[in-house]
């Protein structure tokens, strides 16, 4: 009987293992694992250890008590007492604070507002761009796509920095406008909501354009032609044919912008208001400045809960696109 017969598909490898590895361990692995399971297990374990479990830890710490002088700065949630009993101390104080403290409440509202309107602006600019690219001839199309992707490959941080140079009081835009006499006093554009909107739209535009483009590109031109043949004008056929069909792309692109935008840190830090913060900055300050880990964790969990529904919607659309692409 060959080793293959007695030990399944990876027979020879397992025979090798048997000779050199601890016998009982090999037997167990042989009986319960085949190569396929191993392939699934490797990324799975990694993600569970380094992605899932951290969230659980954050959850745990969000219920902990802040101890300013402690190292780490929180009281243990689970503690084994001498009698062999397990003491679990859960405080919801951090959460209560989040939803009561005016600083936080306004930050939540502000973050959602900024993310929402940035998404709309991104859509308003990105959709026509994606549309134009999908209608272009193949050579131009590739060039355009390349031009869209190129900024994406350069540093995000540096591109946001570039806007500082443009928006400052003595920045390029103010200089140009004053030079042409359009304004007499420089505009205060830095450290405003306006700057944040520009920053987010600027940075996330490729994320809006690419899903839209990939959807629009698949549209069958003959559908539009049929609509027009049946008497619908260009605007009407766009509204009744193209727009509805591009809906999945719109959803995917919008979520790809909205969800990270809610938790944006860099753009508000460099360009945003100092009197009204977004939640990411609050989290960072709680953590690094106040060293209040429980509260920072609570902010993270609250943010997660806020975004879990959009995230799930995004994943559903992501799946659908992949299924559609399958041949």
């Amino acid at each position: 009987m060959s080793s293959r017969d007695s030990y399944g598909r990876l027979g020879p490898l397992w025979t090798f293992l048997l000779r050199y590895g601890p016998p009982r361990w090999s037997e167990y692995v042989l009986q319960h694992w085949s190569g396929q399971r191993l392939v699934i297990a490797v990324p799975y374990l990694w993600l569970i250890i380094f992605f899932l479990i951290p969230f659980l830890i954050v959850l745990k710490i969000s219920f902990a008590e802040f101890s300013p002088l402690g190292r780490p700065p929180y009281e243990p949630v689970f503690r084994w007492l001498e009698e062999g009993a397990l003491q679990i101390k859960l405080l919801i104080g951090s959460y209560v604070y989040l939803f009561n403290e005016p600083l936080y409440v306004s930050a939540w509202i502000y973050s959602i507002k900024v993310a929402f309107f940035s998404t709309i602006l991104c859509l308003m600019l990105g959709y026509p761009m994606a549309y134009a690219i999908s209608r272009a001839t193949p050579t131009y199309r590739n060039v355009f796509l390349l031009l869209i992707i190129l900024p994406f490959w350069t540093s995000f941080l540096l591109r946001v920095y570039a806007w500082i140079g443009l928006l400052k009081t003595d920045g390029v835009i103010n200089n140009v406008l004053q030079f042409f006499g359009i304004i007499s006093e420089p505009l205060a554009m830095m450290n405003t909501s306006f700057a944040v909107y520009i920053g987010i739209v600027y940075s996330y535009l490729p994320f809006m354009i690419l899903p839209l483009y990939s959807n629009l590109e698949k549209h069958d031109n003959t559908l539009l032609e049929a609509a027009q043949d049946l008497g619908a004008g260009p605007i009407k056929s766009f509204m009744r044919v193209t727009l509805p069909l591009s809906f999945p792309g719109i959803v995917a692109g919008s979520l790809l912008v909205f969800i990270p935008a809610v938790g944006e840190y860099v753009i508000p830090s460099l360009l945003g208001r100092t009197d009204q913060l977004m939640v990411a900055k609050l989290l960072s300050d709680e953590f690094f400045l106040n060293r209040d880990w429980p509260r920072a964790s609570a902010v993270a969990i609250a943010m997660l809960l806020l975004l879990v529904v959009p995230i799930m919607i995004f994943q559903r659309f992501q799946n659908k696109e992949l299924q559609a692409a399958k041949k």
């Binding site: 699934i40 954050v58 209608r135 840190y265």
Partner: protein, 284 residues
């Protein structure tokens, strides 16, 4: 159709203008002699002095070197894990926990970085405590933790790239290989991987860029003495503009532009050659 075409074409033009003006202005002012980055000192400009300063700046150079190392390592790790999960999600049939794996691999795509950063830091702290308790080890956060964190969130992108490449991929090729006697592992390495190699490579580049560029997660999980380039840049630009940063930006844009143009050119040449060969076969 005409008016509509005009509107979207105008927007396209405006969009490109919007996208490129900041980059071009940054490049432009990197040659400006004045410290006030945006006031053109016509008398003494253009100058390369900021570039010279850049190459003297030890903090930036060592941070850049660290960033390159971390990015290369995490891109490689991300590609290995991401390709495996992409393969599993598109080729393997249903198995228990498939939906969870799907969720875990795509969640990092949209997850705000502060959440990922915080959670990974807390994990490392817990691990530190655990290892200290169990083995008496003490380890500091640094290159290792940054790399692990980067791998975790960049592998999602690689998974998506590989998964979408495999989805559009005729699996009869893999079936044919199986039918001819090759075992699944062999089919993967000799048939699947060579054919999705472009996707794997672009996944590597994507993961490299994301890691190289990452700020928030890195800030959370780095340790004393491990400063990456984005961290150095960020601390500088919070205080205002800095012409050295402009110079750095210009160099980076140039490298990327060169890379993109080169790869596009190579791909076109290959495509043209292929078309020619196909035509010859059809007629000959």
């Amino acid at each position: 159709m005409k008016t509509q075409g005009l509107f979207s074409k105008t927007m396209l033009g405006f969009g490109f203008f919007f996208l490129y003006v900041p980059i071009l202005s940054m490049i432009f002012f990197s040659f400006n002699n004045s410290r006030l980055v945006t006031v053109w000192d016509a008398a003494n400009s253009p100058t390369l002095k900021w570039y010279a300063r850049l190459f003297d700046d030890g903090a930036i150079l060592s941070a850049a070197w660290l960033s390159i190392q971390v990015a290369a390592m995490s891109a490689t790790g991300a590609v290995i894990l991401g390709t495996l999960s992409g393969l599993v999600l598109s080729r393997f049939g249903p198995f228990r926990g498939r939906a969870i794996l799907q969720g875990l691999t795509t969640a990092p795509l949209v997850m705000p970085e502060v959440i990922t950063g915080l959670s990974m830091l807390l994990l490392f702290v817990s691990l530190e405590q655990l290892f200290q308790y169990l083995f008496g080890w003490q380890f500091d956060r640094g290159v290792a933790t940054i790399t692990i964190a980067h791998i975790t969130f960049t592998m999602a992108y690689v998974t998506v790239v590989v998964q979408s490449r495999l989805a559009g991929f005729d699996d009869s090729l893999e079936e044919a290989a199986l039918d001819l006697g090759a075992r699944p592992a062999k089919v993967f390495f000799r048939i699947t991987v060579p054919l999705i190699l472009p996707a794997i490579l672009s996944g590597w580049l994507l993961a490299f860029t994301l890691s190289w560029d990452d700020l928030v997660v890195t800030q959370f999980v780095s340790g004393p003495g491990s400063n990456t380039l984005p961290m150095v840049i960020f601390s500088r630009v919070r205080l205002g503009v800095s012409p050295v940063v402009n110079a750095l930006a210009t160099i980076m844009v140039l490298i990327v532009a060169l890379g993109v143009v080169l790869s596009a050119f190579l791909m076109r040449r290959q495509e043209q050659r292929r078309k020619r060969e196909e035509q010859m076969a059809a007629t000959g």
